[in-house]
């Protein structure tokens, strides 16, 4: 029982972060059909913002907010400067651009900061633990669950109740028709990128909190996670992406605990083979989500 509770909490905690990562990727994909390879770099940007702010006397919470906002700003800027000019040209051009933007940002971190890991400030509460059902549980994991669930609820209210949210959902379904009703294309796309970056920034705070440091290559794992989760969720559905994130987290945790050592080494190969199989045989995703 204790083991089960432990797995449940770590699964939910990891799943909450995965869900947010997936959501951030799919909200842009839904509208532009762009698989944004630079998505992981928004997490990196938040990390370096935290690092640069660490000598300042600001309270941690303020630093965290600034970091998340910086990720959103970077996401907005990449759209404005790099993606918008190639948007009309082709999907392929946009995809290659996102790959180039990813390389650009990573190397900017190498160039202007350092190739070595940098320590990011974490609040005291991140290293505290509580006992739940006889297990020592990091408070950070509980916080990740609470914050993510609150965000998911807030996000869903935004999508259902505000005109911008409705326009975002409509644009993901029929972009041109949405424009014909007077919703500006640039507004919807910018909004999607800002939300995407903000989600990445918030994920970054908890994701970096695990190791307490940031490197130029930190974005790759979250990017892969977001890819897999969105594929599980069917690529086009926001709720599917969220469910996909939780599914991937639990699968990962089960692999970690159950797979024998020899096979465990090949877990990435396993997971990505499954991704290929899903795209081939169940492109609508493993979980049925809507909206």
């Amino acid at each position: 029982m204790g083991d089960f509770t432990y797995l449940l909490i770590s699964g939910l905690s990891l799943g909450s972060l995965y869900a947010l990562m997936a959501l951030g990727l799919v909200i842009v994909y839904g509208i532009l059909r762009l698989v944004n390879f630079a998505y992981g770099e928004y997490i990196m940007v938040a990390g370096y913002t935290l690092f640069l702010l660490s000598p300042s006397p600001l309270p941690w919470l303020v630093m965290a907010v600034v970091a998340a906002v910086m990720a959103a700003v970077m996401s907005y800027l990449t759209e404005r400067i790099a993606f918008r000019p190639v948007r009309e040209k082709s999907l392929t051009a946009m995809l290659i651009t996102s790959f180039a933007v990813s390389t650009l940002l990573q190397n900017a971190a190498l160039l202007f900061v350092s190739p070595r890991a940098r320590v990011v400030p974490t609040p005291g509460i991140f290293s505290e633990t509580v006992i739940i059902a006889g297990n020592v549980t990091p408070v950070r994991e509980i916080l990740a669950i609470v914050v993510s669930v609150a965000l998911l609820i807030g996000f869903s209210i935004l999508l259902r109740k505000t005109i911008l949210g409705i326009a975002l959902r409509a644009a993901a379904d029929k972009f041109t028709m949405t424009r014909m009703l007077g919703v500006p294309a640039n507004l919807v796309i910018s909004a999607a990128f800002v939300i995407s970056g903000l989600l990445a920034g918030i994920v970054a705070i908890f994701w970096l909190g695990r190791t307490g440091s940031v490197t130029p290559g930190i974005g790759l794992t979250p990017l892969l996670v977001a890819f897999v989760s969105t594929v599980i969720g069917g690529m086009r559905s926001l709720s599917g992406a969220v469910v996909g994130g939780y599914v991937l987290a639990f699968v990962t945790i089960i692999f970690n605990n159950l797979l024998p050592g020899d096979l465990y080494e090949f877990r990435e190969a396993f997971i990505f083979t499954i991704v290929i199989l899903i795209l081939l045989f169940r492109p609508e995703g493993l979980v049925r989500g809507r909206g």
Binding site: L91, I96, Q106, L110, L111, P115, L279, L280
Partner: protein, 354 residues
């Protein structure tokens, strides 16, 4: 001569491109020092990779990441097959016993390595070829991740994530140049071949091509397997040039470099692949020299990292925005009559894969 060229315009393109390429190779051979030899040899190896990517991506309009994985397969297969048994005992401790005594000559090892990669690609990729757009991109990316993970953890063949030492050097300037020339000839021929034309038709208008009886899955598959064979040959040559390497080399950084070369040159034409390789090599070495200068003279007081890739990414974004069909704009270089595009057709602009 003129008559042959008139009937096969791709030969004109090949000859036009070969002149400067042979000159580069000969000049490097005659006057270049070790550094120049290294740069030009690497350039020709990269050119093989870029030409392979052009065969698939240029003609089908679909981006691929997977070929760099097959470069790894070619590198490891040829390295393991050609390493003397006593060396293997030292560097590849976990190697399968069956592979232990095999000691193939260099060219045979390259051929077998390319064959292994080709067979693997042929089997894996066929079902993937019906996917387009984002699904095609993500599967090729996933394939790269899978191959990389296998290379990293299959210690019984690859020595795991550690560096594989002791590969013998066989690749020299003219080796890589010669193979690149052959690859150029084949890529130019393929572009004008029946399958190549069908593939380009399916890139420009998938529905129309299929209604004309083009088997899109089949023609894509042929090009994909060819690309993987190109990549495997390049990997094998590179392995026998660099002599020690690790799986991490066959991953996203290499993908980016090769993609940058093709995109900057212009993916639709073979000339674009060649010109892009040359331009990016020049830029890359220029930036690297600058980075080296800044570091040795301590211009900024600290070590500078990533400047080369940073500037290259910037150049690539600039090309995508301001000259999306690349430097060559989809044209082939030709001497004499100003042909544009293939077979007197107007220049095929790069079009969306959607």
């Amino acid at each position: 001569m003129r008559e042959i060229l008139g009937r096969a315009p791709y030969l004109n393109t090949v000859l036009t491109l070969l002149v400067p390429l042979v000159l580069i190779a000969a000049a490097t051979d005659a006057f270049g020092g070790t550094v120049q030899q290294r740069i030009v040899t690497t350039m020709f190896i990269n050119m093989i990779l870029v030409l392979g990517l052009q065969v698939y991506m240029g003609n089908s309009g679909i981006v691929s990441f997977a070929h760099i994985g097959f470069m790894g397969i070619g590198a490891y297969a040829s390295a393991v097959l050609s390493m003397p048994p006593d060396l293997k005992a030292m560097t590849l401790r976990d190697l399968y016993d069956v592979l232990q005594p095999i000691d193939l000559p260099f060219w045979l090892a390259v051929t077998v390595g390319a064959g292994v990669a080709g067979v693997v690609a042929a089997i894996i990729s066929y079902p993937l070829m019906r996917l387009s757009d984002a699904a095609a991109i993500i599967t090729s990316f996933a394939l790269l991740v899978v191959i990389n993970d296998v290379l990293v953890h299959w210690s019984e063949v690859t020595n795991g994530p550690r560096t594989l030492f002791g590969v013998e050097r066989f690749t020299y300037l003219w080796t890589s140049a010669g193979v690149a020339f052959a690859g150029l000839l084949f890529a130019a021929w393929f572009r004008e071949s029946r399958v190549g034309l069908q593939l380009r038709a399916s890139r420009d208008d998938r529905v129309a091509a299929q209604s004309c009886g083009v088997n899109m899955v089949f023609v894509r598959w042929v090009a994909f397997v060819l690309m993987c064979i190109y990549a495997a040959i390049a990997g094998a040559l590179w392995a026998h040039f660099i002599t020690s390497f690790q799986p991490g080399h066959f991953y996203l950084e290499e993908v980016f470099l090769i993609l940058a070369m093709l995109v900057i040159g212009g993916p639709v034409s073979v000339s674009g692949a060649v010109i892009g390789t040359i331009l990016v090599t020049l830029a890359f070495e220029g930036f690297r020299a600058l980075e080296g200068y800044l570091n040795t003279n301590q211009v900024f007081g600290t070590q500078v990292f990533g400047l080369t890739e940073f500037l290259l990414a910037l150049a690539m974004i600039g090309i995508l925005i301001f000259r999306p069909a690349g430097v060559m704009r989809g044209r082939e270089l030709r001497i004499g009559r100003r042909h544009r595009g293939g077979r007197g057709m107007p220049a095929t602009k790069e079009r969306a894969a959607d």
